[in-house]
Structures are given as structure tokens and as C-alpha cells.
Amino acid sequence: MVTVSIHNLTFTYPQQSRPVLNTVNASFPAGQFSLITGVSGGGKSTLLKLIAGLLPTDATGITFNDQSLTDIPATQRSKTVAMLFQEPSTQFTMDTVANELQFALENQQVPADEIPARLTAALDFIGIAALRDRKLMHLSGGEQQKVALAIIVAMDSAVILLDEPFASIDPATRLVLLQRLAQLSRERGKTVILADHDLSGYTDYVDRLTVLADGHLTHLSPEATQERLATFAPAQLRLQHVTVPDNDQPALLQGTQLSLSANGRTLVTPQDLGLFAHHTTLITGPNGSGKSTLFRSLVKLGHYQGVITYDGTDIHRLKRRPYARQVALMFQSAATQFLNVTVDEELTLSLKNSYADHFTPAMVTQLLTELNLDDRREQIIYTLSSGQQKKLQLLCMLIMAPDVLLLDEPFKGLDYASLQTAIQILKRVQQDLDITYILVSHQLSGLDTFIDYHLQLADQHLTYQGVRA
């Protein structure tokens, strides 16, 4: 049983002026399941990494039962604290599930003859004995997170840290992981600290909620925690203007007997699907249900079964270069889209290669001002906050002015004011250039007057919602 205490912890990243964490004081009691919440980019990851000893710091401010991590021999630290990361696929060293568990136990110098039993027990506890000899790279994100937790169970770490572990995980897996974590804290006395910006579905599992805002931590009492969790309602989608598209209308992008799968898991069963020109279509569905996979298929980056046509031609027969002008994807990770170093260089590139004569440097300056980026023109993109990167990415893709723009989580990390501005700009550009938008978004507020059609992905099927026109 280990209690984590934090005393007057301040942390500033090199080359940044403002501290991410400012004189933080906190205590995470042994055997409790604590949830940390706060806006993305607000320092939750930094705090967890500091607790795990993964960031270089003097770290005297963090203690485990009054002992600092540096006082514990390096080979024993994983028995004290272990972390499960946001990105499922880059947390493994070995090829298969069993080999990875074996690797972790060998690191802890567990005698060779005890390893098989510990390995089996951990897999059984999480309920993934069947995955034992599977290749990690062939597993879904959800399965990979289960394996990551099994490793921590096998290592028997006293403090379990989880950094946004459900970001791309399907709801069923999320539920299993939550149940196991609650069990670990209640039955095995583990100290669980989980960071998540989304508070839905935690009511039955979490003992205490901690809020991280402006570099400061605030613990809520058990009563306040339950109240806050109970009243937290995921942003409801209230679309009053959506209609089911007319059957006679020709689709711009048409899937015929289209089905999608990833790592052997079926995401969409064969169906016909039309996506329509000059409108805005919103696709919603649970995490990990295949929305991004659908987008990748539409831009010829993913495998699919069936046929996808663009304007009547099979996209397999369209050359990549001209097709990229017709259908472009704004990737979920903003950095993927950038090719240069500074904000100005990116904008210049988009202006140079734009398919429309619409945008002028003066107009771009105006848009930058609206998005609060006008004083950042010389800044290195990779030092912008995630929200600023997202806004720049949106601008770069709009300037390109493709016929169809697919937007994968375009509003991620944006504050409310930026979100409103972004939607205004999107609408304006659509009016001027007649662009077709298809977007995937978890951010649902403020979209009502923007969305024409709403496609819901549920039970491996995409269905248009709303009333018939």
C-alpha cells in the first residue's frame, strides 16, 4: 500500500517561460482510485510523468510513503510505480504478448522459474489468456491497452498511473479496464491515478476526483466527486436541422458493398453508402468504431472491401496526385500535415499550391487575426500548443480548397471562442468556394447550424439520422 504525496511541485519545460505545474500540493491515498481531470494540454500528462520518474527533475517534491523515487534502487522502481500510456502501440519492446510480459518480469529480476506462473495469472486477471501468443502489432488499440495493464498487474506495481488510456478505445474495452482498475484498488490495495478529460462513466469506479486547472490541483471531497461525476453529461448532440439525404440525389463519394476492418476486427459490415456534394456531413460513433479508418479508406490510405467511387470513377483507378486535389483529409494529428518549420512557411506553401485563386495574403492575415494567431507568424510550429496547431492546420487545409475536405476531429483542443471562430470560417469558405465537408468530431456543441447531414456509426453500420426532407 503506497500513498503518493506531492509537495510544492513546480515544473517548467525547457525553452518555455510559463510553468505547466505551479506549486502543486496533493496526496493520492493508498488503495484509492483517483481521477484527474482538466483541459487537454493542461499538464495532466506532465504530472503523471513526473510521478513516474520519466522526466528529468530534482523531484524531491514527490514521495511514495515518504520515500523519494530516487531513494529507491532503479531496479525496484517498477514495483513502486508503473504507467500506462495514451498511445497504445508505442509502449512495447517485444513482438508477442507473452514475450513482453516476460521481458518486464526479467527486468524485475524475477527468478526464471516463477515467470510463467506470474505471466499466466496476470493474463487471466485481465481476461486475455487467448491473446498470449499473438503479435502485439496485430492487436487492436483496446487489446493493446489490456495487455499494457496485464503487464502492470504482473509487475505488481503499487501505484498505477494511466494517461488518457481510453482516447482511442471502444466502450466495451473501456468498461472492462475500469472494472479491473477498481478491483485492483479495492481488492489489491493499488493506488490508481487516471487522467482523463472526459468524465463520463466513472461514477461506480472512482473514489475521488482531482481538478487540474491553470497549473494548480484541487481535490474534491467524495461527496463533491460523486456529484460532479453524476452531473457530468457528455455534450449532447442537438441537431434540429439535419435531414436524411434525398434518394434521387447523386452521391459524390459512393461506397458499394463497402466494409471495413482493422487487425481482424470488423468495423463496418458490407453496406452501400453515399456521401453528398456541397453539404456538410457529420459522422459520429463510439471511439474505435472505425470513423478514422473510413476516412483513410476514402483517401486511399487504408484497406477496405467493396468499391468506392468518386464522381462515378473507382478511386483505385484515380491517380493519387489529382485525387489529392479532389479529396483531402485534415488528419487528426495536426503535426502530420505540416512540412516546414514556421507558421508563415506553412501558410506560404498552402497559398502557393492552392487550387483556388480565392485566398490572398491579406485575407490570410485577416483569418490569422480572427484565430488569434497573427502574432505567431514566425513561431516554430512544433512549439505551438495543440489547439494553435489545430487552428493552423485547419487554415492550411482550407486555403488548399480541395473539392471535398474530410476533417478528422478538427476542433480537438480548441477553447470555446476558437471553436466558434473556426465554425464561422468554415461556413464562410464553404459559401465562397462550395467545398464539401465531411467531419468526424467529438466536440458537438455549436454545430447545429453548420451540419446538413448526420451519419451515425453504430453496431457496425452507418445510418443517416434525422427527418426525411
Partner: protein
Amino acid sequence: MKRWHIRDIILVTILAIFMGVIFWVITPLYSALTAVFAPMGLQPLANEILLGVWTMAGPLAGFVIRIPGAATLGELLGAVVEMFLGGIWGASTLISGVVQGFGSELGFMATRYRRYNWVTLTLSALTTTLVTFAWSLAREGYSAYHLGFLLLLFAVRFASVFVFGGILTKLITNLLDRAHVLKH
């Protein structure tokens, strides 16, 4: 002197694998060049033109990772990847990897791992060309060529190594430098 840490080892290996992917991408080009040059008895020219791509992992790793041995390790691991993918030169790839990597390493060694600029990259291109050419004299029987042809091969090889290991590598590292991700 800087020591190897796990992060650097993973990074140099990923770079090597990426260069392996690049080799894979240019293999059709290499085959096409060989097919064009072969009838005239100019096959080695196909080699020489692209050799700079094969040896680029060395200077790139040396410049990005800045630890003694980075160039050699980057090139050797690239060779390991190539051999497991079933490359054209089979077992000798491993030896070539060490030879090529050591060739570029000499350039960094000459500047004592302190300077990372044009001088270093030019030196590295020169040492790479010299060392690998000596190896080709033995392995591929270049020693049997007429002197004139041999000089042509040498010149083309140096040009290729300089273009890819020198110019291209400098352009890449300039971008990395401006993005502030290179440790000094």
C-alpha cells in the same frame, strides 16, 4: 564523451529501418539503371549513382545522434534490415554496412565529434568514398578495371555520396536544427 542511452539506440535503429524502406523504394530504379547500363558493360555505374543513398544512414545518424559510433551503427543496422528483407548483396551486406558506416564515421572522428557543419559532412563524404572504394576493389573485383574507367567510377561515387550524404543530409539537418530538435 557522450554515452549511448536507450532512447538514442531506438532512434538510430528507427532511422536505419527507415533507410531500409528507402532502399526498398529505390530498388526498382536500381534494377532499371542496371538493365539500361548492363548491355554497354557499364553496370557498376548504376551502383555508383545510387551509392550515396545506400550510405546515407551513416552521416544522417552521425549528425542527428552525435554520439561516437552513431554513423557506424546506423549503417550497420541498415544493412541488417536489408539482409533480413532479402537484399541483393546477401551476407556481404553486413560487412559492407560496417565498412560504409566506418567510412562516414571517420569524417566525424576527424572533427572529434565537436563540429557539425559542412566541413564534417564533406570530410565524411570523402572518407566514405575512399573506404568503400577500397572495399569494392576487392569485393567486386574493381581492381581488374582499366584505370580510366576506374576513375570515372570513383568520381561518380564521390558525387553521389556528396549529394546524398552531404547536401541532402545538410538540408534535412537544417530543418531539424531550425525546429530546435537537435541537441547541441
